[in-house]
Symmetry: D2
Subunit: 132 residues, 4 copies
Amino acid sequence: MKKVTIQYRVPYADTDQMQVVYYGNYLTYFERSRNELLREMGFSYKELEAMGCALPVKEAHVNYLLPAAYDDLLEITGWCEFFQGVRMKIRCEVRRNGQLLAEGYTLHATCDIKTMRPARPPQALRDAIAGQ
Amino acid sequence: MKKVTIQYRVPYADTDQMQVVYYGNYLTYFERSRNELLREMGFSYKELEAMGCALPVKEAHVNYLLPAAYDDLLEITGWCEFFQGVRMKIRCEVRRNGQLLAEGYTLHATCDIKTMRPARPPQALRDAIAGQ
Amino acid sequence: MKKVTIQYRVPYADTDQMQVVYYGNYLTYFERSRNELLREMGFSYKELEAMGCALPVKEAHVNYLLPAAYDDLLEITGWCEFFQGVRMKIRCEVRRNGQLLAEGYTLHATCDIKTMRPARPPQALRDAIAGQ
Amino acid sequence: MKKVTIQYRVPYADTDQMQVVYYGNYLTYFERSRNELLREMGFSYKELEAMGCALPVKEAHVNYLLPAAYDDLLEITGWCEFFQGVRMKIRCEVRRNGQLLAEGYTLHATCDIKTMRPARPPQALRDAIAGQ
């Protein structure tokens, strides 16, 4: 499966008083890599929405191994672990200088953006993923 | 003018590595008191939106006097400084045990929520504010 | 085990363009209830830190059932599922009018705040938890 | 004065239910450009802190002209408007495809990081700024 890695510089805004990145912010990091993963797979999430497809998160999980800190230049890697029917699982890893700091996943339902009910995604997306 | 004060407990999420509340979070504190101010004035912002009126922020200003910290129980006070035509200015103060930590304002345009262009707000809101 | 429920009003700041609460913000909601849970158990997290004990998050999990929206008055409930050796697991549920919207947990290591290495927590905390 | 421009891709996390970037997030955008401005001027903020110098924000101001949206690739430009004694003013502009969306400033005090009281910054920083 295609893996996409982005770089991200940690601002003060992301840290907390323990002088590390606040644990909730990793879910935004996951989103940042997911956005670029989808773009690389052929459709930005914005385009997917325009095609009538939304990918709400049904489940999120993070394992925290080592803390990230202010001004760290993180490498955030995302890839699609599986995509079956109306379920898509995206894995994500956060590293600094190659060292793994945190990893986890988000589980998504492919939904009709009007009803927000599960629906098969556009054929074009299925083809794009099958072609990875 | 009616003043509304809410209490707010600072979570770790709001702090940064200097062990104080991150400066950007005060604009969310302002919003929290604004929401309750509008509710007290007779219309929650959600109701205003349902009436076709939005209040986008055109200008925001904060003066930082003393830092707030984790677990502080803040008092956040908001009031409408003026409301003329399509402009509304809301002042806000953030205190801890009565001591002023930060203060500032947001300047809003009353807009038609469909076009997001300036528009006179619903008569009911004008009456409510005039009656303060 | 003692359960603590707090009320929380959702600001605009917490929503995203899908007009629901952004998925990452639930981890802050979990923290808000955790803070009050610890306080109810006899020690605010701030006091725990002053006693030399930190509770970094090693793992976080959220199941999203139904979306929360702007201006919702949420009920966030937290309780300690287990506490053994240097591991503490806190469960959390987010409801609106009693209806479950999201639930999950955080797994913590009790650490020495100076070294951030796992360490048995203060006896007073162990007694407090045993007494729940 | 040296101007530094960074690019920033807007995640869902930054948007609110009006489908635009939440107004408070612009202060984080300002910080992101400030960090790179300082780095370009010769000292990352992290290095400044290591030299015993902190730059807490005393005042922040934002004028909102046009909304930014999800997936926008923003250009955030920062520069030092003045630096006299213990005061430093940083201006910031946020653009999309060259069009100005928001602009404002932050006013900082140069402080001794131990006491957080105003103090002349390290000579090296003064020289670096004088040399811009």
